[in-house]
Amino acid sequence: MSFTTLLKFNFRYYKRHSLLALLCLMGISLGVGIVIAVELINVSALASFSSSIDFLSGKASHSVVSNYGRIDEEDFRSIWTDKSVAAASPVIDVMGTTVETGSDSIRFLGIDPFLDSSFRAWTPQGADDKSLLIFLSNPVPAVYLSEGLAKKHKLKTGDQLTVLKAGIEKKIKLIGMIDPSVSGSLTENIGVMDIAAAQELFGRTGRLDRIDLVINGDPEDLRNSLPQGLVLTDANSRKATLNSILYSFQLNLAAMSLLALFVGVFLIYNFSMFSVLSRREDMSLLLTIGSDRRSLIGAFIAESTLLGAAGSFIGVIFGYLVAYFSINMVSSTISQLYYQVNVGSVGLTFPIVLSGVAVGFVATLVGVILPSFEVAVTPPVIGIKRQSIEDRASSLKGWLLVLGAVFFILSAFCAWASRFSIFWGFTSAFGMTLAFALFTPYSLSIFTHHLGTFLKKTFNSLTGFLAARNVKASLSRTSIAVAALAVALSMTIGVDTMIYSFRTSVADWLDGSLQGDIYISPETTKWDHPLPEDLMEKFGSDPRVDWLEKYSTFDIYIDGRLAKLRVLESEILSGKARFNFIQGSQESWKELVKGAAFISESLGFRFGIKLGDTMKLPTPKGLIEFPVVAITRDYSSDQGTVQIDRNIYRKLWGDDRVQSIALFLRPGVSTEEVKSDIIAEFKGLERTVVSNTQMRDTVLGIFDKTFAPTATLKGVSLLVGLLGVATAMMAILMERSSDIKVLGYLGLNSGQLGRMNIYQGLIMGLFAFLIASLCGMALTYIIVHAINFRSFGWSIDIKLNPWVFFETLSLTMAACFASSLYPTFRLMRIKSAPALKEE
């Protein structure tokens, strides 16, 4: 029988079973879509900030930045006049928001228009003297704004904008737009101001954020002559630094996507295999009537290639749409946690398409080839019997259990090995998921057997009994569908339990840290906007206030790597706060006052610093040694935090800027009354003055937002798994229709048959949930100890949340019920009348 005849035969099958063909295509498309979406999000986020750096650098070959977060304005002259420097431009680079543009944050660049013209063309070229005068000396600071942003918020030249500087309202005037031909493909919102106005507006008087340079000599000459704490970088090394900051985040996103991909591949395999197995008897018949094995397998490979192509094509579109609609959520998370990124669009590239399509093809091919090969080598006389595949599945289940045990042990070993490389942590997660997937056939067989007996004996439920036994009877189908669903659910349970444990740990940490009655902690804290001096003076001397705790965090570079320097008021916090000391104790505060440092466990992990070690911090006075006297639990930054006393900071850095404060009120003083006074005096702070509880809720709100994208992933995984259940049920329906008819002959009415079918779906869902609960808990352990700790360096106390399990079970049962409705509808229409006979 020719290859084309066989191929035609195969496609006739899909024509007759159009719903199954649709499910197959959906399965492949979802699998491919997951890969494409995550890859697109990762690449777009990276490309966005990479192009931002390139674009904002303009013609600069290098930049001077500070290891301790600021450059003294006085240092500019010596750098500018260095013989190797052809051009130099001082830059204030600060993120901010305005009332008018709402949540669209703006990168404010303060430049000297004369010096900066060698680098960029932000201000209108050839502007007349009047425009330049306004730009430089308008009583209300003048700004040029990205045209796109202005259009979006219907802003026009001459409008006044209200900048929220440390939460306090400051006016600026829009004097023109930055031409799109200048800002090009840059997706970030830019506001360009005169450098002096920007320094004044954002509390950076006397300091610079960066000096951009064009160097025509040997950069090493300049590097060697730079003042203490300043370093020469280029765009590539800045990109590398920012890349390294995102490494852990992206690693985790990739890990989540790989787990989702695992589910996707499982599903594709499930569908492909099902499409072959359901034709097993036909194939054996074809072999019987003379077709050869090679043509048979060839026809299936051709079929899977076409199916893979169609599924991949749809998958690419689906993945693109998922990425398109979720990119804002991810870029907002990155902006919240790391640094500002504005991903304007997602660009589908050939390598991304190729990776997605490859996944679709490989999984489809494996799914088709393995079973078709199995059928091709099975003697037709055996293959022609439907039961033979179940016999084979039944005899294989013991071996699969053993194989699962091997993977379980290997996974445990990999979890241990994760201390050497995070790669082993991910391998462990995959191994564990695979182990539980392999446990499924054996345990499902045992479970359904006993469940059937239990349902009959305890509830006298014959339909429940038959449903359980039907699931067992079609083990070759049901175990794969249940395993795919269990893998999807275990991922959901594992990640949700990790998030819950993480959230509980963060809440405990916040409870210990946030002991003040009122907090003034503007959203701009992360952008280093200092609070006005008069605010602290006023409330520091207010008789109602017992203590005013000042709080600042700055970026510093330790050995070229970014970390956070937190400045604490030991005097207050030692008595008021409850730090979670992993090493060290309450006594350590005394050492902090003397010039020691606390470090967060993530910093200790990243830099390999232990209690008792000494670390060198960059200060304007050079590298200063700080003995490490405590390691604290701190979730504020995965870059790691060094905590020192404010008096020490003031002495060494010559700086006393404060980004947020906490007020500890005297007993009996009304929190609301003090809050009202603050708001009345400092316009704009009504957005940021919060109580202890509100502050805690705000931080936890950010936490929840950070993990919000996992919901999409969960949804897709669940959908993927449930499609598997629906297919398996259709399979049972198709293959066991004779059994169903016999039940009709024996007197089961259509209602009972329908109930039986729905119970089948629910039993599959229930068992998938049970397997997933165990696997999910194991995954949580791996994620927390072997992945999260190795990625971020912070420990999390694992806490089980009954709600996670209840929610997963409810969703699964509801979805399995829904998945079984159509097959049930079909089943109830089956008439027993077409005789059960073989004439």
Partner: protein, 227 residues
């Protein structure tokens, strides 16, 4: 003798359009008493199985009426027909149609479970009667074709049905095993005074019933009566 089955002008037509294309049954009339037996002969596709399905309440005629013990089956709802099959009819199939995941015991018990009277002793007794006293815990796949058909017979008779419908019960068996099965059916029908309608192609099976009918072009014709 009490009348058990009566068919009045029963016709069945299969059509792809408004008009009947095929008439497997055309104006069939028949009366069968309790405990009586009949053989139904006919070519493939002549309507034998349709006849069994209509009498068994699995299918409904296009026209005409069917009575069982005075009750008009053609007037019953689907639920009532299911109840009728559950209580009154025992089906025996050519390909046994046992449930592979149920043990022999569970297969035999199934009709009793459906009626709501799970009587294990009776099922054991019947398995004993069909010559399979030790098969209770076994799965059907471990039995020979003949043994599987015995289990199927036990399943059909365990609820003591008034009517047994057998569709080529020996069609998949060798001659010797077929004869054994026929004797078994003969015995249990006699024991329970059950009415038997059996479709067969086998000349060796004709002895089991005195009246042989043949379906020809939809018409039911009495072919032979053996005294």
């Amino acid at each position: 003798m009490t009348e058990l089955i009566r068919l009045e002008n029963v016709s069945k037509c299969y059509s792809s359009g408004p008009n009947c294309d095929v008439f497997p049954l055309f104006s069939v009339n028949l009366e069968l008493d309790q405990g009586s037996r009949m053989i139904l002969l006919g070519k493939s596709g002549s309507g034998k199985s349709t006849f069994l399905n209509i009498v068994g309440g699995v299918d409904t005629p296009t026209s005409g009426r069917v009575f069982f013990n005075g009750t008009e089956l053609t007037a019953l709802s689907q639920a009532d027909l299911a109840n009728y099959r559950r209580k009154e009819v025992g089906f025996i199939f050519q390909s046994f149609n046992l449930f592979p995941t149920l043990t022999v015991g569970e297969n035999v018990m199934l009709p009793l479970e459906l009626v709501g009277t799970p009587n294990k002793e009776k099922a054991i007794e019947l398995l004993d009667a069909v010559g399979l006293p030790d098969a209770w815990q076994k799965f059907p796949e471990l039995l020979s074709g003949g043994e599987q058909q015995r289990v199927a017979i036990a399943r059909a008779l365990v609820k003591t049905p008034k009517l047994i419908l057998a569709d080529e019960p020996t069609g998949n068996l060798d001659q010797d095993t077929g004869n054994t099965i026929l004797k078994l059916i003969d015995n249990v029908c006699s024991l329970n005074n059950a009415t038997l309608i059996m479709v067969t192609h086998s000349q060796d099976a004709l002895w089991i019933a005195p009246r042989h009918y043949r379906l020809r072009s939809g018409r039911l014709e009495l072919e032979t009566v053996i005294n």
